[in-house]
Symmetry: C2
Subunit: 108 residues, 2 copies
DNA sequence: GCATATTGCTTCTGAATTCGTAGCACAAGC
DNA sequence: GCTTGTGCTACGAATTCAGAAGCAATATGC
């Protein structure tokens, strides 16, 4: 049976952001996309980059991300699609924000 | 026992973005923050906005988000902190991106 | 040919997380 | 008193994830 047999949660609200938040709001999904931001990675390299994420979940996430047209499988492994790269570019400000956020957290 | 008894996954990598991705990469977390973007919401209003999300998980997420200094509880319910509002502001481009993404998905 | 290694991926079992319902304690209104 | 609404908790069931093992396919060396 397919791992993708139901529509993305919230997709029927008609608000694309809901579908996106739901897709990215699954364990490891954001991390997987993040690790692919610079270069394509093989299945096992991706698994190692995610510090031992189990292959079953990785395979499931890759299937979801390919269906979402954010990741594609090519000769050199898995890579972001142009659309996926667009999305990651939008995360750069968030990365910078996270630095300041971490400092505030340590300050308590 | 506390619902928050272990450090955020990936936090020991020293890269704040990992801790953030891990925090937001839990079911409903991004959605909860999103629903609070405009106005404070009461516990039950928030639960309704998330289409019947179970109160146990909502309570857990609120605890995590409060610990992360992104959400605070006040007179008028739960609201984003200034820091949380900063983060949501960074999501506006992502929302616009999601519109185009949804169109591409429907096109197959 | 044959062994070895590496790859993508599957399968399995037990643990962790999440769900959904019910319900508690409290406050306000009547 | 009784009802209504609130934030929140308890608990069993369902889902998801983790971790280890292993399989088929391909490549490499001898």
């Amino acid at each position: 049976m397919s791992t993708i047999d139901k529509p993305v949660r919230g997709s029927r609200s008609g608000r694309p952001i809901m579908a996106l938040l739901d897709l990215l709001g699954r364990r490891w999904t954001l991390r997987v996309v993040w690790e692919l931001r610079d270069e394509p990675l093989s299945f096992r390299a991706l698994q190692a980059a995610c510090e031992g994420m189990s292959p079953s979940v990785l395979n499931q996430r890759l299937a979801e991300l390919r269906e979402a047209l954010l990741v594609e499988a090519g000769e050199s492994g898995y890579a972001l699609t142009p659309r996926g790269r667009e999305l990651m570019a939008l995360f750069e400000p968030i990365q910078r924000w996270a630095e300041a956020w971490a400092r505030a957290q340590r300050a308590g």
